[in-house]
């Protein structure tokens, strides 16, 4: 397989484009057909065989431009002094002195390949690779030449030595750029994996802002997986086996002749969810991710109503109907335009509001999901309302972003609320969220 293409495919994979073996074979065949001559055609045909979604096409374009722009040495300011020959010098020195850019490029690429530059993974390896590439190109020869010229001492030799030293600097610069570009292309994947693992398990509350976008991607992937999983289950539950007892009963009317067949069916449970979320500062970020999850699963969930509260409570379901999820979340996040007081968190008052606004829709089929840290600022906890909710609904799940050991300390009312919940969970990483959502969807 073509070395350039192989490296390009690696670079694509690092950029997050999934390239299978069969696709790489297609790419090779396409290149055989098209050739490397026309850059535009090459790009189009590789794009057709390797990048298969709109997002991937964008990534592909960026990656292609970066990858195939390499083979250039920046314009040297050294002037090629043409008639002179540099037979006595090392090969690299003579190339530098005669300004043979093509030769330098090919030598650089060759050395880089020998040094397996595509294996570069970390920032810290950069200078090491620069050194290795330079050595493989024959840097020691250049150094020796400079030393010899200086020892020679004639003005001509002095001048040449200075020129060579200048060229040497220029060479180092170019190799450094070259390695830098390779680093950009190839380093991502190792760190990508590491980051994803780290993100999945790190606490959402102290997540850095710059990872948020990444998180969204991870969640989307998880949502897709959950959706796939449960749509399959849904289909399986549609199929049934013959329900013999039912068939017999049904056909008594026909004197026991089995005319009509009855099939066993599983009940599909599409949960009806009421989410009650604390959007005070300490919890708001997790709310964001939980809602991202829930609204992503809307195919599997019959109905979601969302309430948010801080000092008081209001319903925000309509926001999700009017705006795309991202925008709705942004609106909730800053609390602007919501009919809500953003003072100190008051669970008691909020539950009171819920009793007036939302209790009517809590039925035996509803799952009530409360997300909050239960830090009530020493207000009245109004546990009796929670008790009513728990009696009316099918399941009451409380998700608390704090670690279990902190529950009940200070103004945390968790121990008082917990007895009324059918499930109490610590929930502060994406993995926790996934587990919760998956348990909501389980078929009983």
């Amino acid at each position: 397989m073509d070395h350039t293409l192989r490296e390009f495919i690696r670079a694509l994979r690092n950029a997050g484009i999934r390239v299978s073996v069969s696709e790489s074979i297609d790419a090779i065949n396409a290149v055989k057909l098209i050739g490397y001559a026309g850059k535009e055609d090459l790009k189009n045909s590789l794009s057709a065989s390797l990048a298969k979604t709109i997002r991937e096409k964008e990534e592909f374009d960026a990656c292609f431009d970066r990858f195939f722009s390499f083979d250039s040495f920046s314009d040297p300011d050294m002037t090629a002094t043409c008639d002179r020959t540099y037979d006595s010098r090392s090969r690299l020195s003579s190339m530098l002195l005669s300004g043979d850019r093509a030769g330098l490029i090919s030598s650089m690429i060759q050395s880089a390949r020998q040094m397996n530059i595509a294996g570069i993974q970390f920032q810290t390896q950069k200078s090491m690779y620069v050194m290795r590439v330079l050595n493989a190109m024959g840097m020691d020869g250049v150094d020796r030449d400079i030393r010899l010229l200086l020892e020679e001492g004639t003005p001509a030799a002095q001048w040449e030595a200075a020129e060579l030293a200048e060229a040497r600097k220029y060479l180092i610069e170019n190799v450094r750029d070259f390695v830098e570009k390779y680093y950009e292309l190839f380093s991502l994947s190792a760190t990508d994996q590491v980051i994803e693992n780290y993100l999945r398990n790190s606490r959402l509350t102290n997540m850095e802002e710059r990872y948020l976008h990444r998180m969204q991607q991870i969640i989307q992937r998880m949502v897709k997986r959950l959706n796939d999983l449960h749509s399959r289950k849904k289909k399986a539950s549609r199929r049934g086996v013959l329900d013999f007892k039912k068939t017999l009963r049904k056909n008594i009317a026909y004197q026991g002749m089995l005319f009509e067949t009855m099939w066993k069916t599983k009940k599909i449970e599409r949960p009806d969810i009421i989410a009650i979320c604390d959007i005070s500062r300490s919890v708001s970020r997790i709310v964001r991710f939980l809602l991202l999850f829930l609204y992503g699963m809307n195919e599997e969930i019959a109905r979601i109503r969302t309430f948010v509260f801080c000092s008081s409570m209001t319903e925000v379901t309509h926001l999700f109907e009017e705006y795309p999820v991202d925008q709705a979340l942004a609106r909730i996040q800053n609390g602007a335009g919501l009919d809500i007081m953003m003072g100190r968190t008051d669970y008691g008052r909020s539950f009171l509001d819920f009793r007036d606004k939302g209790m009517g829709s809590v039925t035996k089929k509803t799952t009530v999901l409360i997300l909050g840290d239960a830090r009530n600022n020493f207000y009245d906890p109004r546990t009796e309302i929670l008790k009513t909710i728990s009696e009316r609904c099918k399941r009451l799940i409380w998700l608390n972003p704090e670690s279990r050991s902190f529950w009940g300390t200070g103004d945390s009312e968790m121990p008082r609320y917990a007895p009324f919940c059918s499930l109490v969970r610590e929930c502060n990483t994406i993995n926790h969220l996934e587990a919760v959502v998956a348990s909501l969807l389980r078929i009983h």
């Binding site: 999934r18 069969s22 696709e23 065949n29 057909l33 189009n44 057709a48 065989s49 298969k52 897709k224």
Partner: protein
């Protein structure tokens, strides 16, 4: 035949030229993909917003290659019996009735039951032979002697199961019918799948296809399309209406006008003998390019600046 075809697909430029002759203006990217699809024998998955000429691409390819276009429209619930083949049950029943005497005679010769059954077994293949097979689009495409262009339209509307079922055909160009065996294609059809991206297609399907994304055309290309499809529209009007449409596409409306609608609009304006756009004319004909009451209202509010800017581009 093959030589003629090979000649037509000999280079990317050639394809682009021939497409233009057939009335389909395409950029180099599209031509490159068709070129690859032909030479690598791979299906092409075409994605893009509605009305950018995805289906048209397949139709034009069929015209240009001179082979029949076989079209399979996908929808929810589409299954094998509608896409691949079905037994002609009626014919089978009719024939068994007609041949009843014959069958009786065959069976009568034997004394014992098991022998009659053995005897019958020798004939049962008759009723499950190609004579009783009703080929549906996919099978038909495989059976074409001279090849075909197979268009699997809106594959995103079909179910996951159907997508999985397509895999065998798309990678090996063969189907297995349990009663008969595996049917291989005579000449590889050129396959186009189109998708409007209403759902994400499976990785496996994408892996087997070349992927082509057709966005809305830029102004130059769209003008070219109008010039070819609606000859007679003046140069000035062409510029104006394309500019107008391109502006509308950037607005936040429910359904942006497609190329088809641009062409329709050009035809309407031609019928009305208009030489240049003006707000009244645009207001009267807006329903040609916009199909929602709400959209029409949004555009109407801004009709003056839009028209002015369009008129300005043509230098009039």
């Amino acid at each position: 035949m093959q030589a003629v075809k090979d000649h037509k697909f000999s280079s990317i430029e050639n394809i682009q030229k021939e497409f233009k002759n057939a009335g389909y203006i395409c950029n180099r990217r599209i031509a490159t993909t068709v070129y690859l699809a032909y030479h690598l024998g791979k299906p092409v998955l075409v994605e893009g917003p509605a009305g950018v000429g995805k289906t048209e691409l397949a139709k034009t390819t069929a015209v240009f290659t001179g082979v029949p276009l076989i079209r399979l429209q996908c929808y929810e619930g589409l299954d094998e019996s509608k896409a691949l083949y079905e037994w002609k049950y009626g014919k089978q029943l009719l024939y068994t009735q007609l041949l009843k005497d014959k069958l009786d005679r065959i069976i009568l010769k034997e004394e014992r039951l098991s022998e009659s059954i053995d005897r019958l077994h020798r004939y049962d293949d008759i009723f499950f032979s190609p004579h009783f097979l009703e080929p549906r689009p996919l099978l038909k495409a495989l059976q074409q002697e001279k090849g075909a262009v197979l268009l699997i339209d809106e594959v995103d509307k079909s179910d996951d199961e159907f997508e999985a079922f397509l895999l065998e055909i798309l990678s090996d160009f063969q189907v297995s019918i349990p009663e008969i065996g595996t049917i291989e294609c005579r000449t590889r059809p050129l396959v186009f799948l189109t998708s409007n991206n209403t759902r994400e297609l499976s990785e496996a399907l994408k892996r087997r296809c070349l992927h082509l994304y057709i966005p809305f055309p830029d102004a130059t290309l769209e003008k070219e399309i109008i010039r070819i499809r609606v000859p007679g529209v003046s140069d000035k009007l062409q510029k104006q209406l394309v500019h107008f449409i391109q502006q509308v596409r950037n607005m936040e409306i429910k359904k942006v006008p497609s190329i088809g609608e641009t062409i329709d609009w050009a035809r309407v304006l031609l019928l009305l003998h208009s030489e240049s756009l003006n707000p009244d004319l645009v207001r009267d004909t807006l329903h040609v390019i916009l199909k929602y009451e709400e959209d029409i209202r949004i555009v109407q509010e801004r009709i003056h600046p839009l028209t002015e800017s369009a008129v300005r581009t043509s230098g009039g």
